[in-house]
């Protein structure tokens, strides 16, 4: 612990503040003051992100297997948007949830998830990261199940299965990584891993393990189910902050910018990522719940993140630039998705019914535009910066990738259009359960702050080349593309409006999970039957022993019956006598 500055000690506050409030809330669940205090448990984290200068480090050798907390550039950015989003969502929740809704319970889970999420960001070693990751994952189970509907039950079940699967995959990944690096510190892992013979195994496990959290295509199935069923503020943090934990895991563990280029892995990730972008858009527009649409949008956006990471693996020399873009992408998505989810809540609140209706509508459109990558938004900035990086790929791949990155816009626009269509404040939704009278400011203020921060971020990103992006031509082409996409969407919407939706077999929410669920159920049945048989075969020993005893009894019955007889006894006596004499004669 020597050498740790006072600033570094402040890092301890980040996870312990929410933990302390959570424990207090468990002990005194009825204290209103505590629930009001709950969101502000993220404040120390936010303050640290803004006020502390990386790098900071503090060792706690007594905790777990020797814990290191630290703040580096990556952590700082993650800490900023995560804490910000948690704070905003938390304040929103104080207004959104009423006393009777089990608010204290909600906040207990909320705070534990918050502590985990914030803790994993400043974790410098694998175990504290893993522990925080687990705490976050398991605590958000409570958030997802908060409404106790059958739908929530199913979503929760699938979520927890995926969480556990992710946990064990990560366990294996971390164990192997720790063995390869002979260290638990993240600082030591990527360089060691780049050279290790187990590199590919670790990569596979980590990609899959963190991919579950991040919603990588194929592993995303829990996401569109879980995000919508949670209360709106919880959806915001789930989709905005928590899925980024998977990204952070990749950043910490994968040998990005280290060692040789991993083109195979890079191409695989890029392929999966781009596929996710379009697939999620395709499935997403078929959804009827705006929050589900947003969840698919998250999958789609995380596809972009996956693509960027793949690029980083394939072109390690460009990693410093790519990493900056990825971080900004994460921040942008967190703020945008947070604002959109809270917007859904706003649209269902009494605000949307009154004179602020247009304001609410504007508040929905702005982040949607940002997400779609409109000029002068953070989304546009990211895509603009990512394209040139794509060109760094070796010959046949660079140009197609850059083109595909541009086309992702189409998918996003479609999704956002569908979202706006579904979430548009009609003024008639005031009867929705979440629209009961609530203190308006606790809803509006965090939401507005988020939107403001999102808009502001486009201009304060500090990314290299950011100021040069918005040339006239770029803006024009951006607006034109956007307009074209919007027109297409409108046309499609008009055409589709005439179609009887119910006759089209639309992909259900959670898409791939449906057949998997069925398969698992039948697997479970089969294994139960097999086990039953096996057990009978094993416990056959007991039955066999019993029947053996019965047989023995029957066999010995004649012996029992002659036991008391004189004639047999005397015969045996004589026989023994002769036998003994005969033996001693030999």
């Amino acid at each position: 612990m020597t050498g740790a500055s006072l600033d570094a000690w402040l890092l301890l506050l980040i996870p312990s503040a929410p933990l302390a409030v959570a424990c207090a809330l468990m002990l005194w669940p009825t204290r209103r003051a505590l629930t009001l205090l709950a969101p502000w448990a993220a404040l120390p984290a936010l303050a640290c992100a803004l006020g502390l200068a990386p790098p900071l480090e503090i060792d706690l050798p007594w905790l777990l297997l020797g814990t290191q907390l630290g703040l580096d550039h990556t952590a700082r950015i993650f800490l900023f948007f995560t804490a910000f989003l948690w704070l905003a969502a938390g304040v929103f929740a104080t207004g959104y949830l009423q006393e009777g809704d089990g608010r204290a319970r909600f906040f207990v889970f909320f705070l534990f998830a918050m502590a985990g999420n914030l803790g994993l960001i400043i974790a410098g070693d694998m175990l504290s990261f893993y522990a925080s990751f687990a705490m976050m994952s398991f605590a958000s189970y409570g958030l997802i199940l908060h409404n106790r509907t059958a739908e929530a039950g199913r979503a929760g079940r699938i979520y927890i299965v995926m969480v556990v699967a992710g946990e064990v995959l990560l366990f294996a990944a971390l164990i192997l990584a720790a063995a390869a690096a002979d260290s638990l510190l993240f600082a030591d892992v990527p360089p060691a891993l780049a050279e290790a013979p187990t590199r590919d195994v670790v990569l596979a496990l980590a990609v899959a393990g963190f991919g579950i959290k991040l919603g990588v295509l194929g592993l995303h199935v829990w996401l569109p189910l879980a995000h919508p069923v949670a209360p709106t503020p919880a959806s915001a943090v789930l989709s905005g902050a928590m899925i980024k934990a998977g990204l952070l895991g990749w950043l910490r563990l994968l040998p990005l910018g280290e060692g040789p280029a991993l083109e195979g892995w890079g191409l695989l990730l890029m392929a999966v990522g781009l596929l996710a972008v379009f697939y999620a858009a395709f499935v997403g527009i078929a959804q009827r719940n705006p929050k589900t649409v947003l969840a698919y949008s998250s999958v789609s956006q995380m596809g972009l993140v996956t693509t960027a990471i793949g690029l980083g693996l394939a072109v390690p020399t460009r990693w410093p630039e790519i990493s900056a873009i990825v971080l900004f992408l994460a921040l942008h998505h967190a703020l945008a998705k947070g604002a959109l989810f809270l917007g859904v809540g706003m649209a269902a609140s009494r605000f949307a019914a009154g004179r602020y209706r247009w304001l609410v509508a504007a508040g929905l459109v702005l982040p949607a535009l940002a997400l779609a990558g409109a000029p002068f938004t953070s989304g546009g900035l990211v895509k603009a910066l990512l394209k040139p990086e794509a060109m760094a790929l070796p010959a046949p791949w660079g140009a197609p990738l850059a083109a595909l990155v541009s086309w992702t816009l189409v998918g996003t626009v479609l999704l956002m259009a569908r979202f706006l269509y579904l979430a548009w404040p009609s003024g008639a939704s005031a009867g929705a359960p979440s629209a009961r009278a609530s203190s308006g400011y606790s809803l509006a203020v965090p939401w507005a702050t988020l939107i403001a921060a999102l808009l502001l971020s486009a201009f304060t990103s500090g990314l290299a080349g950011a100021e040069a992006v918005w040339t006239w031509s770029a803006v024009l082409s951006g607006v034109a593309t956007l307009a074209l996409a919007a027109a297409c969407t409108a046309l499609a919407g008009w055409l589709l409006a005439k179609v009887d939706w119910h006759r089209i077999p639309l992909p259900a929410s959670g898409d791939l999970v449906v057949p998997v669920e069925r398969g698992l159920a039948s697997l479970l049945r089969t294994s139960a039957r097999a086990l039953h048989d096996l057990r009978y075969r094993l416990s056959g020993g007991e039955a066999a022993a019993k029947s053996y005893l019965t047989t023995l009894r029957r066999l010995l019955a004649p012996a029992v019956s002659i036991e008391g007889g004189w004639a047999p006894a005397c015969t045996m006596f004589l026989a023994l006598l002769l036998l003994l004499a005969a033996i001693s004669a030999t």
Binding site: L552, R553, L556, A559, V560, E563, G564, G565, P568, A569, C570, M572, F573, L576, L577, L578, L579, L580, A581, A582, I583, S584, A585, T586
Partner: protein
């Protein structure tokens, strides 16, 4: 008077004190219990004094009347005798204590009990101290008659038929033994074990004598398949008598067999030991099997004796070369531990029978706290019977196991260990009943004569059980006692019989 060894008159007192007591108890029936107690005290005192002498000074010897062998009667006391005397004294003292409470009401039976019991004790002590084959026959017969009479004391038909069967077979056994003695005398002209040991050769007379004596003693020891007299007799006798019979009487003939084997018979034919060992193994399995299927508690305990006797015979095949000392030490330790444990079990069973008014296993239950101590005694004695540590039963089985490995015959561990498991099976079949809740099983029979057990009866049973359990810790001391004098001193040194 010639004294080739250390001459100890205590050998005589060990025999005569109980005999005088027996006569006195017969003469003064009203004071029989008092006489019994006094005689017990005196006998225990002289026996312990003698044991102390053996332990400290080595083997003791006394020529009665100064005649000396072959005409007179000589008394020997070595480590083996001392161990047997010790066993008898310990069990005898406890049973005396128990009997003072047990026989309180039934005066007629009580009077005979004391006389017969003291006579039995005297005969057993004489048997342990004799070194002459004919004397041994006489003492054997005395033990038999006294035991039969004790069984018959209960007076009911089970007891009488049991006693009758026992007596006839006992006579058969002793006569067979006597025929062997006759052949030996005819061949060698002497009956002194010490003298004979140098003369015996594998001649027809000798091997016929060996067969006769071993077979005769086997029937008296109730070796399967010659055991069938034992369960009815032991089960039908009054509790203290059952304890004496199972704990001591069957061991007397085995002691004789052991002594003859060690000192007299040329063990040129290893098959001989193997046959006895096989019968021992058979006894273990058969006795346990029968014990398991018994419906009455005392019969179960009696069959347990049949099984446990089998262990005594396992040493015969095991006692080869270097393993001999270990095997025989284990056997003697087994005698001691089984004596204490079986006494405890029969006394406890007696208590339970007296309390419940019957001993049908199916209808027994823990009942009131009044009987809990007896159940505890039964269970703790079971530990020793099963051979779980730290009981002396464990030490004995350990030594037998060591002998079987050391003699390269590991397969004998199957009866040794298997017998333990079967013993556990029949012990816990009964011990589990103690845990039935109060509203199940019998509450005790208020009409039964002694529904309220005296404290003495409960604690004697428990004392035996605890003694058997704790004796494991005294194993080194007991083994040290055994090493005094023939035959064990030689075993250790020479390693060959």
């Amino acid at each position: 008077m010639e004294t080739p060894f250390a001459d100890s008159p205590w050998t005589v007192w060990a025999v005569f004190t109980p005999m005088i007591g027996a006569v006195a108890a017969f003469l003064w029936p009203r004071r029989a219990a008092l006489v019994g107690c006094l005689a017990t005290l005196a006998t225990v005192g002289s026996v312990f004094w003698l044991i102390w002498q053996v332990a400290q000074l080595g083997p003791q010897y006394h020529a009665m009347g100064g005649w000396g062998a072959p005409l007179g009667i000589d008394l020997h006391a070595d480590g083996l005798s001392a161990a047997m005397l010790l066993t008898t004294a310990l069990v005898g003292a406890g049973v005396t204590l128990y009997a003072t409470a047990y026989f309180q009401q039934a005066t007629e039976t009580a009077r005979f009990f004391w006389a017969l019991w003291l006579l039995l004790w005297s005969a057993m002590n004489a048997l342990f101290l004799s070194g002459d084959l004919f004397n041994l026959y006489v003492t054997l017969e005395l033990v038999g008659v006294a035991s039969v009479a004790l069984v018959a004391l209960a007076g009911n038909s089970d007891a009488l038929t049991g006693a009758m069967r026992y007596f006839l077979l006992s006579l058969l056994g002793s006569l067979t033994y006597l025929l062997g003695v006759a052949l030996l005398y005819g061949a060698h002209g002497t009956l002194d074990i010490g003298l004979l040991s140098d003369l015996v050769t594998p001649a027809p007379a000798d091997w016929a004598a060996t067969g006769l004596m071993v077979a005769g003693l086997s029937i008296k020891t109730a070796l399967v398949p010659l055991h069938f007299w034992l369960p009815p007799a032991h089960a039908a006798a009054p509790a203290p008598v059952s304890a004496l019979l199972s704990a001591l009487v069957v061991k007397t003939s085995f002691y004789l067999l052991l002594r003859l084997w060690l000192e007299l018979f040329p063990v040129t034919a290893p098959g001989f030991g193997q046959v006895l060992g096989l019968l021992g193994a058979l006894a273990i399995f058969w006795g346990s099997f029968q014990a398991l299927r018994q419906a009455r508690l005392k019969l179960l305990v009696a069959y347990s004796t049949v099984a446990q006797i089998g262990y005594l015979f396992l040493a015969f095949p095991l006692a080869l070369t270097t393993a001999a000392a270990t095997a025989w030490a284990g056997t003697v330790l087994f005698i001691l531990s089984h004596a204490l444990a079986k006494a405890a079990m029969f006394l406890a069973a007696g208590n339970i029978l007296k309390f419940a008014g019957h001993d049908r296993i199916a209808d027994l239950g823990s009942g009131s706290p009044g009987i809990a101590l007896s159940w505890a005694a039964f269970g703790i004695a079971g530990i020793s019977i099963i051979g779980l540590p730290p009981s002396a039963g464990f030490a004995a089985k350990w030594l037998l196991l060591q002998a079987s490995f050391a003699s390269g015959q590991w397969w004998w561990l199957i009866p040794i260990v298997g017998g333990s498991l079967l013993a556990a099976a029949y012990m816990f079949k009964v011990a589990g009943l103690a845990f039935l809740p109060n509203d199940q099983g019998d509450q005790g029979d208020p009409k039964a004569a002694g529904a309220r057990l005296s404290r003495r009866m409960k604690w004697t049973a428990l004392g035996f059980a605890l003694g058997a359990l704790a004796m494991g810790f005294a194993t080194p001391q007991i083994l040290a006692l055994l090493d005094s004098g023939t035959p064990f001193a030689q075993l250790g040194a020479v390693g060959v019989l």
